[in-house]
């Protein structure tokens, strides 16, 4: 399976901030063995088929390749105290790069970053507001040893929603895992994209919107999905870890379609439920980020990232391989009404600001003007 959608982009990617420097990792001054990478999971395990798992796989692949020490820690429970405990433990065990996927790490960073100035903290999805609250005056001195990457999930969500409606689907579904910020952003983007496309095409579009309240599928969620598909829903954006299993299961019975998330899930989903089920996937470049950061650290370029929080989204309107978010160009089922060119144009428009996408995570229950949304809350 093509688990690393932008693997091509990955190795050479440099983020917006890193663009100036394209130095090779191998001429790093420090000996490799000094760097030991530890990942701490948030409330999920590294098997969540989502955030933790992608991060883990990226870290491990990188560290294997570069012969760096790597391990991961799993907190006892879902609390800042326990996340801090594992960070402390990692540092005590001699790890000096801590990778932390998940907005939930904000508090833990606040508590530990200052304590360990020599340790490099790489956070994913932790925004400045998570760290500093609504009235943040975050600057590079606030946490000089922390780098955080926040993804603009609303962008790929938008693309997916736009694509779906353009492709001619009029009855959509959004099945979120849990209402966490990333999922909410995906969902809100999806709604906005569908809304925009509906406005263009004038089609009357309906969208079922619900959260599974868990990151895995089971009979209850499959039942809800069956209801959607058999009630006419054509395509469901299965947005969260392993929850696609329920969507796929139901889609298979009704000849429905699924949109994947985070990585190009076409191979995974089609492999399970039949060819041609996955219309597209809304992707974000977790692996790319991990690789970029670890490469920089190994290459002695940490300073360029230290203290910053990057909003990772579109980098280029022309070269999609540089972007952190997007749809898979190979596996998306382009059709006459939405061709690859249309997608590229969309990306360009989004990059140059013609199209604006809101990332308001308060929109757990989004609304739109041109499409009808049936909000159903939590299935479980």
């Amino acid at each position: 399976g093509s688990k690393a959608p932008d693997a091509s982009a990955t190795t050479e990617t440099s983020s917006a901030d890193a663009k100036a420097d394209n130095a090779d990792a191998s001429d790093a001054g420090e000996p490799e063995s000094d760097i030991k990478v530890a990942m701490v999971t948030d409330y999920g395990d590294i098997t969540d088929q989502s955030f933790n798992q992608s991060t883990y796989e990226a870290c491990q692949a990188f560290c294997d390749e570069n012969k760096l020490g790597f391990t991961y820690y799993k907190p006892e429970g879902d609390s800042t105290a326990e996340r801090v405990a594992q960070i402390d433990k990692a540092v005590a065990d001699g790890y000096n790069v801590i990778v932390m996927p998940g907005y939930a790490f904000a508090e833990a960073i606040v508590e530990t970053a200052e304590m360990y100035p020599d340790v490099k903290f790489v956070a994913l999805d932790v925004s400045e507001f998570d760290l500093e609250g609504e009235s943040s005056d975050f600057n590079s001195e606030t946490y000089p040893n922390v780098f955080s990457a926040v993804y603009q999930e609303e962008l790929p969500g938008y693309m997916a929603g736009y694509a779906a409606v353009k492709m001619g689907f009029t009855k959509l579904g959004f099945l979120g895992g849990m209402a966490v910020p990333a999922v909410i952003r995906y969902g809100y983007g999806f709604v906005q994209g569908a809304d925009a496309a509906a406005k263009e095409t004038g089609a009357s579009v309906e969208l079922n919107y619900a959260y599974g309240n868990q990151f895995y599928g089971d009979a209850d969620i499959t039942a809800a999905m069956d209801t959607w598909y058999q009630g006419g829903t054509e395509v469901v954006f299965a947005c969260g870890g392993g929850i696609f299993t329920s969507a796929g299961e139901a889609a298979a019975k009704a000849n429905g379609k699924v949109i994947g998330v985070d990585v190009d899930q076409a191979a995974t989903i089609d492999g399970k439920f039949g060819k041609g089920m996955t219309v597209t996937s809304a992707m974000k470049g977790l692996k790319a980020t991990v690789n970029t950061l670890l490469t920089a650290i190994v290459g002695g370029k940490w300073d360029e990232y230290a203290g910053k929080i990057s909003n990772l989204g579109l980098v280029s309107g022309d070269d999609t391989s540089l972007n952190y978010v997007g749809l898979p160009e190979e596996t998306t089922l382009w059709n006459d009404t939405f061709k690859k060119e249309d997608y590229l144009k969309l990306v360009a428009d989004m990059a140059n600001g013609t199209i604006k996408v809101s990332n308001d995570t308060n929109a757990e229950k989004p609304s739109a003007e041109n499409i009808k949304i049936n909000y159903q809350g939590n299935i479980k």
């Binding site: 395990d45 809800a224 019975k253």
Partner: protein
């Protein structure tokens, strides 16, 4: 409508199987609070069978193999309960609780270990069985018939026959009501209780695999069976330890459970705009209310929960 029926039957099947399991155990005098754990173990056995079996085999063979292995796993695991509670007179609530905790942990550890052996990079506790699982269902029009629905129905009929029409049933219930009396007419109470617990293990084991295959084609064992074992226990008490009533209780419960998932397919329900949480609470609230009105004369097997001691009278 079809969906509502389908999922009602599916959830009811799980509940019937597991509740009947509890029913056999309790009729023999042993409270089986470990149903949840036994379900997990049965599910693990069944899932692994589905994973490794050749999906091109005849469907009937696949179904039977899965059934057999789940039964076996459930039975073997329930021996832990029987051994501790019957032979060593351990507290049944305690051991049942321990079995639940143990199963959740052990199943995850086992699934993870197997995955790691197969692929060192796969540290997940997920067992996948997409292909083989297809053997379990037959589409009849829009209705997806699951062979386990039939099995649950058969189990119900058998349970009724066994309990009320056979020598075994008579003796089993005597052990749960008045073990001293059973002993005094030469019935080996220990053997009968073992039998009761083993049967409960078999049924709960099947219940486990039915639950995890009910909606999806892979299962992550960290998630256990999400409290279904306890629901089954409720169904059993609700059903007053009688197979027919258990069947009805399971249908009622299954119905509300299914409704909470598919209500959006009914326009008038969707129009009511009731929060999803309310639907989720519904099965519990309804059964609580029904229980409140029906429990006045509820009678558990008299000797359940009391370890049988030959010496005492």
């Amino acid at each position: 409508m079809v969906l509502l029926l389908q999922y009602t039957l599916l959830f009811a099947s799980v509940l019937i199987l597991v509740a009947l399991g509890g029913c056999f155990s309790e009729h023999s005098g042993v409270i089986n609070l470990g149903l949840e754990g036994i379900m997990v173990m049965g599910a693990l056995g069944g899932a692994l069978t589905l994973k490794y079996i050749d999906p091109s085999l005849p469907k009937i063979i696949i179904v039977l193999a899965v059934l057999l292995i789940s039964v076996l796993c459930g039975a073997v695991y329930s021996m832990l309960l029987a051994f501790a509670c019957i032979n060593f007179k351990a507290d049944q609530t305690l051991v049942g609780t321990a079995l639940n905790l143990l199963a959740a942990a052990a199943a995850t550890v086992i699934a993870k270990s197997i995955n790691i052996i197969e692929d060192p990079n796969n540290v997940s506790s997920t067992v996948q069985y997409v292909e083989a699982k297809k053997a379990l269902v037959v589409s009849i029009g829009k209705f997806q018939f699951n062979w386990f629905m039939l099995i649950a129905f058969l189990a119900l009929v058998c349970a009724y026959m066994v309990l009320y029409k056979t020598r075994f049933g008579l003796r089993l219930m005597a052990c749960g009501e008045h073990p001293q009396a059973a002993d005094s007419v030469g019935i080996n109470v220990y053997t009968m209780r073992w039998a009761g617990v083993l049967i409960s293990g078999m049924l709960a084991g099947v219940g486990g695999i039915v639950y995890i295959t009910a909606g999806v084609s892979e299962w992550k064992f960290e998630n256990g069976v999400a409290g279904f074992g306890f629901l089954a226990l409720a169904v059993m008490i609700f059903g007053q330890w009688k197979p027919v009533n258990i069947g009805l209780a399971a249908l009622l419960f299954g119905f509300f459970r299914a409704l909470s998932n598919v209500y959006s397919g009914f326009d008038f329900l969707a129009a009511l705009n009731i929060p999803g949480s309310v639907y989720n609470m519904m099965p519990y609230i309804i059964s609580l209310i029904v229980l409140a009105f029906t429990s006045a004369n509820s009678r558990a097997p008299k000797a359940e929960g009391i370890p049988y001691d030959k010496g005492s009278r």
